[in-house]
Each structure stands twice: as C-alpha cells, then as structure tokens.
C-alpha cells in the first residue's frame, strides 16, 4: 500500500474522482464482477446437489441436501469420461505445439525486412482475414479432399493457424528482435532455420506464451470441430466440450452399464441433472483456476494485436 501511494504521481492523486462517485462506481463494478462469476458458482452448487433436493427445490443456491453422487458417478464411469478428458488434453497440447510452430515460422519469415517474398506472403496471409470460402466449402474440403473426418487432425488442424496470430508474432519480432543479432549470426554462417530455432525462439518467450495461451484456450474450448467432423460412431474421439453437447441427446454416453439405461431418469439412480453440471465443472475449473495468472499475457497479445499491419 505504502509503495502504491509513492508510485502515484501528484497529478493522479489530485485528479482522483470524488469519494461519493468512487463509492457508486465501486458498487457498480462489484455488482458486475458478481454477475460474471455467479453462474459458475451456481452450476458448481448444482453439481453438488442431491437428486432429491433438485426434485424438491429445483436448482437452488441453497439445496436441502448436498451430495457428491455426481462426482462419484463420473469417477465410476471414468473409462468414458476419462477418454474424453484425454482427447481434450491431447488435442490442447498437440494443437498448441503445432499451432505455435506454424504461426511462429510464418511470423518470423514476414518479419525479415530483406526477404524477397515478404510482400507476397504478407498479402497471402492478409486476404483470408477479409474473405473466406464459408462453412460449406471448408466442410467439403476437409471431409472429402483432406479426409479429416473422425481423426484427431480434424480437431487440431482447422483452427491451428490464424492470420491474426501470425501478425501479432510478426509485429513482436519486428519490434523486439534487433536486426544486428540476426545479421551477425548470418555472418557466423548460421542458416535461417538455426537462427530461428536457437536464437529467435528462446528470446521470444513472451509472445510465444501469449499465442500459446490463445491457442490452448481455443483448443480446450473448441466443440465446433468435433460437432462437424466426429461422427457418433467414433465416440472415443469426443472431447469434453462435445460430450456436453451430445449428453443432451443421450445420457447413454456415460451409462454404459445397463441398469442406468432406462430413459426416465426419475426412477433410476442416475444423478443426471447434477452430473451434467459436474462435467461442466470439469471443463471450467482448469480455466477458472488458471486464467487469472495468465491474464497479463492475454492482455499483451490484445495490445500488440491492436497495432495495425
């Protein structure tokens, strides 16, 4: 606190808003902050509510009875939910690595001022920002030409690269990596590949962290690729996000054991209501716990991105 006060300049202190205004503004933001996080807390409570309580009170912030049934059931069915978790983690990790490689190489190439095809490639990656072939042709190309249906590649490749990421990386390389380093490495006989991997990448960790985070959150949250390219005959390729969608249609994704198969959930032991919410928590908890620490990388990415190309 003491430190903060000293950091604050004289103008800033003099120019602060009045105390009553500050109270009103603070109240507004406390309210908005609560509205932002309360749905998550609510879903968490529902996931811990017993079936009886849901039947009696519906979803409630104050259930009449708490229960871990949903989570123990998920644990019981860990073969199916575990597979989905594995798919989500695998796609996130591999996708982030592949995506970083593809975005960073192009970003580096575009950042070289003397490169002969610089202009060509700049336009080449810029055009897709303005125009695209639309869902139908992408879908047909991916399924009929590239044969991606029902493969991990369908979950990884279509969202691996973005012109926006390439431009952020290019801008970072342009502004923070001195040409002299690269020139001197060239004089020492290093190839561009070597310069890129052993000189440029190690000193570019901030931008790689930023884009890596964009990518990994993107992959973790992606459900659209699975919805388009993974058919119900390949449930072992469902990521968690898509399990949440398909579970609407069939609880049987989880209840492989016959006793739970009865369509009316009221009579059976299946804690279906709370269980859905438990899967939501499984998806959200890693994000909710990690993003506050990664926030600054996101913000720096957004700020670099605002520099126009």
């Amino acid at each position: 606190m003491q430190l903060n006060r000293r950091e604050m300049s004289a103008t800033e202190r003099f120019n602060r808003i009045s105390v009553p205004t500050n109270i009103i503004f603070s109240a507004v933001f406390i309210l908005l902050a609560l509205i932002s996080v309360i749905p998550l807390i609510f879903v968490g409570i529902i996931s811990l509510t017993s079936n009886e309580s849901i039947e009696k009170l519906g979803y409630s912030f104050f259930p009449s009875q708490w229960s871990f049934d949903a989570y123990s059931y998920l644990w019981h069915e860990r073969s199916s939910i575990g597979t989905a978790t594995f798919v989500s983690v695998f796609v996130t990790v591999v996708g982030t690595i592949v995506g970083l490689f593809l975005n960073a190489t192009m970003g580096y190439v575009l950042s070289r001022p003397t490169y002969k095809l610089k202009k060509f490639f700049t336009i080449f990656i810029f055009i897709p920002m303005l125009f695209n072939g639309g869902l139908v042709s992408s879908y047909l190309v991916n399924t009929q030409m590239l044969k991606l249906s029902n493969t991990y590649w369908a979950l990884i490749l279509p969202i691996a690269v973005s012109s926006f990421y390439v431009i952020i990386i290019r801008t970072f390389f342009q502004t923070t990596i001195p040409d002299s380093i690269i020139e001197s490495a060239k004089i020492d006989g290093a190839s561009q590949m070597r310069i890129f991997f052993s000189i440029v990448l190690p000193i570019s960790l901030p931008v790689l962290a930023t884009i890596g985070l964009f990518l990994s959150f993107g992959y973790w949250n992606d459900w659209f690729s699975a919805m388009l390219y993974i058919q119900s005959s390949h449930q072992e390729l469902y990521p968690l996000q898509y399990v949440l969608i398909s579970i609407e249609k069939n609880m049987e994704f989880l209840s492989r054991s016959a006793q739970y198969m009865s369509p009316d959930s009221s009579g059976s032991k299946l804690p279906s209501e709370s269980m859905r919410m438990a899967i939501v928590m499984l998806v959200v908890i890693p994000i909710a716990l990690s993003y506050p620490f990664f926030q600054k990388y996101f913000i720096s990415g957004l700020t670099i991105g605002a520099v126009k190309g």
Binding site: F25, S26, S36, P39, G58, L117, Q192, F196, Y291, T303
Partner: protein, 310 residues
C-alpha cells in the same frame, strides 16, 4: 525501393520455413475460397472423383440456388436476424464497454480495479457450450432458478425455451455478459497509454473530470474505437454460431428469433443436407462481408487516413 536482386540462399531458407504454414493456408483457406463455386452448381459427390473432381463435374446451376433460397421465408429471417443482432451488439457493446472502461480506470483502489476486472474477464474464457449450461441453470422450465422463483411468488412459470419474444433480450444480455470484460481490456490498454501531461495541462486550465473525458480521453480512444468498429462492420453478416445455436439449445419454436446465417448454413448442411442452399447463403455472407469491410475501411480512410485498418 529495394533494388531488384536474385533469390539468394537466405530467401531459400526463409521460404523453406514458410512452406508448412503456406500449405496450411492453401488447404484451409484458399481451396475453400475456390469452393464457393459450389453455390453455382448442383453439387454432389461423384464416386472416385474426390472433391475437386466432383465439383468440376457437377451440373452447373447458375443462380438457381440463390433464387430458390430466397423463395423460402428462411432467407429473409436469417438475414434480418444476423444484421439486427449485430447492429445492436455493435452499438450497445461499444457504448457499454467504453463507458465501463472509462469508469473502471477511475476507481481509486487499485485492488478493486484488479479484482473486478479479472472477474469480468472470466466469461470470455468460457465456451458457448458451457455458457448454454449456465443459462439453462436459470431458465430451465423444470428446475431453473428463475422459473422456480416465479412459481414460488405465485406467478405463472414461463416456458423460456418455447417463447420467442424473450430471446432477443436474453441473447443480447448473454452476449454482453460474455464480451464486456474482454472489450474493456482493449480500451483500458489504450487509456493507460494516453500521455499524462495532457491531463496535467487540462487540470491547470481548470478542466473538470467530465471535460477531461470528453476532450482528452475520448478523442484519444477514437482510433481504436474506429478500428474495432470497422472490424465489426466487416463481420455484420457473420454471427457467433455458439450464441445462436447452443445458448437457445437449438429449440424449434425459437427459430424466428435465433436463426442467423451461420445457424442456417450449419443446419442446411448437416440436417437438411441441402448443400446448394447452404453454400448459397454462405457465399452471400462472405461476399457481402468483403464488400462491407472494404466500404467501412474506405469511409474511415476518407475521414482520417491514420485510423483506417489497411
């Protein structure tokens, strides 16, 4: 201008590095662009021909796909929905976000700024599927919190997922809920970058807080507001598929107010299996989007060339 020179070793190596990504762009962006001719064909996969073979051999349809698409009531509804929602999102979103960014930057307590901003950033990191469950927890007619509260207070319970008239409001609220925190970050970064001496000079001249906002902060924010505005105008024919498909849980009775171009294209492609209509709608969306972003950029450039996007 650079002197014309031959392709040297350096250029070769750089090209080599660029090749994987270039192939990605070819496969996932440029080939599909070529695929827009699907809209002018009676496309059907011809066995043994692959995608491009089938595309070339399919019968030419002229503008039939477009003509028949616009004979269905769907076409009018989806274009109306997409544009109207986007107009509301752009206007309301920009206003609310800028206003809140200005307000939060004035909070006296740094802790308060940090904590509320971090909390408001959370929704941005959630997928629409997760958000659809959040909404469901409140609106489900069986167990939802709001339905329960209405019942307990003696009112009639509302079948939210069956009643179209509420959804324009619900969708706008959900959109704002998810996007405000993110938008604030962008504007806050710009506010932080404003030279403090401008405010010092203003204070010496006796400017009030409001005058400082009006004559310094807002004009300094204008470039970023304009750039984001151009971008969103360019996307006026696109919609967030998850918001309009997942959040209303693809509920049939709501189609009139939730069907946007993207939702229609998805449903026509996968459900109705009507590739012709789907691609016709998609091509219109892409082409109109291109025209709009070029036009928006041109207009901004004429006003002030500094602020244009390209």
């Amino acid at each position: 201008m650079r002197v014309k020179r031959r392709f040297n070793k350096d250029d070769f190596e750089l090209t080599f590095l660029a090749v994987p990504t270039a192939i990605w762009f070819l496969a996932f962006c440029y080939v599909p662009m070529f695929g827009i001719i699907i809209a002018f064909k009676h496309y059907r996969p011809i066995p043994g021909n692959g995608f491009i073979g089938s595309l070339l051999k399919s019968k030419f349809a002229g503008i039939d796909n477009f003509k028949f698409l616009f004979m269905t009531p769907d076409a009018w509804i989806m274009f109306r929905n997409t544009i109207l929602y986007n107009v509301v999102f752009i206007l309301l979103g920009t206003f609310v976000t800028v206003a809140l960014a200005l307000m939060i930057s004035q909070l006296r307590s740094k802790m308060m700024r940090k904590w509320t901003q971090t909390s408001m950033f959370l929704p941005h990191f959630l997928s629409w599927v997760v958000v659809s469950y959040f909404v469901f927890a409140f609106l489900s007619s069986e167990n939802g919190l709001i339905s329960n509260m209405l019942e307990h207070s003696g009112g009639d319970s509302i079948q939210w997922y069956m009643t179209p008239k509420y959804w324009p409001y619900i969708l706008v609220i959900v959109y704002l809920w998810k996007s405000i925190g993110y938008g604030m970050v962008v504007y806050l970064a710009s506010i932080a970058g404003i030279d403090e001496s401008l405010y010092e000079a203003a204070i010496i001249d006796g400017a009030t807080k409001w005058q400082q906002v009006k004559y310094i902060t807002l004009p300094m924010l204008q470039p970023i507001i304009l750039i984001l505005f151009i971008l969103s105008v360019g996307r006026i024919f696109s919609s967030d598929f998850g918001l309009f498909y997942q959040v209303p849980r693809n509920s049939g009775p709501l189609v009139d107010v939730t069907q946007t171009i993207d939702v229609y294209v998805y449903k026509a492609l996968t459900g109705l299996n009507n590739i012709g209509f789907a691609s016709a709608a998609g091509v219109l969306q892409s082409v109109l989007g291109l025209i709009f972003i070029l036009a928006a950029n041109w207009i901004v450039k004429r006003m002030n060339s500094e602020n244009s996007l390209f």
